[in-house]
Symmetry: D2
Subunit: 162 residues, 4 copies
């Protein structure tokens, strides 16, 4: 049983540019994170884009939908910026059936030492193996259904709508 | 829904004694790890012992069984040294019913920077929320039934028996 | 023999704001860094400001000059953003006599795990103990006189003028 | 002006063996540490041995003396376990003249995340550039003459004899 991981960027993969002090995207850190976790699962990684989720529009979401539908695996983890993660989850719920898709992300870049990313990645890979088909968000130990989740902009945390 | 975490020590919680260069146990790092993962779950922590799992005997396992049976929560994660994790799982399978218990651990101490512990903890907390009653081991992204797992002493990895 | 450390901010002390993804200043990390280095020197810390060195103007430099002149200690380390470190060094050279002053900084924030800050701090504290009175910049293992140094904006490294 | 670094092992370079939980030596971490510190000095690295300084005997110290005398550079940093660092310094003081030699080490292995090694390395490289010929120990920000230093076994810290 193989698991597909699609990478879209987000805080997970941000890096610090020491020449001008800005944050930017270079390569994904997912292979490094899986190695650190000594992950023994059969995973297939693919980078679809490397962007901040605030820059994600209709075209990017269509690409994610297309790749999820095309994927042979029915267990898919998507790394994604937290700001619009629940929007992408909604689009996926409309257009992808018969797959278990878990979106996850991080509040702190993996490279910054104090990241929650490794914890979230561990839980996302566990949820995707055990949950029935559907679209979910895994953040901070919790699992949310796509239609019952929002990011609270004040606290930075994901919470149920009702 | 509350999750119980029982702490027994193991590599997870080992520290480096800078006066004599030995490894030893002091306090558990679980609270720090849950904070790093920004864990939002309702968890109840309890330290049962702080030992190397090679030192775990009949009495220690009886104590773990007793605490699992006494626990109000039916979702329990146990942090445990990897060397005898599958033995403890067997004892639990005989003596604890109607609970989902997930044992997890680490190959590298959490304090040593490059630990797999945060990844394993994230996955254990996800598995315990989604799996039916039973005794399991969660290591390196994988989930094992108590009666189909062993630690390969050569590779240090957990694998299925058949 | 006591050493004075003046803190002015710079990359050294930048942090990641997980709510909006920006970089900002909060508290200085110098006490934490000295503790990590198990620094046994008699040092007196004082935060003069917490700013990016691109925002440093005439008033801020006058304050630094004033504090250096007022300081009882004749050995002073100043943590400073790298972009205008050599400008501040020039102003100090004109206006502060009979003291050994070493400016230092970092290319990567201390909190981001992969910082050069601890290495630079260790060398600055060594140079300040051994060099004659004068104004210096200590970066990346090297020591520069105030009148023979510039930051190369392409490489991000400090180099001699001639 | 080139600086010679001789590596002898010590806590600096210890690693955790995840198969049996012991500490051991593999490769030195000095290149990695110099890179992290973005060290721009012209340094020549050479590993003489990789041992715990408690295992260091007459033969090993003769080898260090021999290499120091043979070295073209008159500025030498030696990484060394802390337990017998002052003994090696004494032997060097008898047998090596006309060189500045700074011994340094760490209380915590570099790989364990919370090491004082990077701070000590930064200060040792600064001291070696600025001190007159002689044999010194650089630990925790301080510099000690070879004939006025001991490691306090209770506190783990280096202190002056008088």
């Amino acid at each position: 049983m193989s698991i597909r991981i699609f990478i879209t960027g987000g805080t997970f993969d941000k890096e610090y540019n020491e020449l001008d002090g800005s944050l930017f995207f270079q390569d994904t850190h997912l292979p490094e994170m899986l190695k650190l976790g000594r992950c023994n699962l059969d995973v297939e990684l693919r980078t679809l884009m490397m962007i901040d989720s605030l820059e994600m529009g209709v075209d990017e979401r269509e690409l994610i939908v297309f790749q999820c539908n095309k994927s042979d695996e029915d267990k898919i983890v998507i790394t994604h910026g937290t700001d619009t993660m629940s929007e992408t989850a909604k689009v996926l719920a409309e257009k992808v059936k018969d797959k278990t898709i878990v979106l996850t992300g991080a509040m702190i870049p993996y490279k910054f030492g104090s990241s929650d990313g490794l914890f979230n990645l561990g839980s996302a890979l566990a949820f995707v193996q055990t949950l029935p088909h559907g679209i979910y968000i895994a953040m901070n130990g919790k699992i949310f259904n796509w239609d019952n989740v929002r990011k609270n902009k004040q606290t930075g945390q994901f919470e149920e709508l009702h």
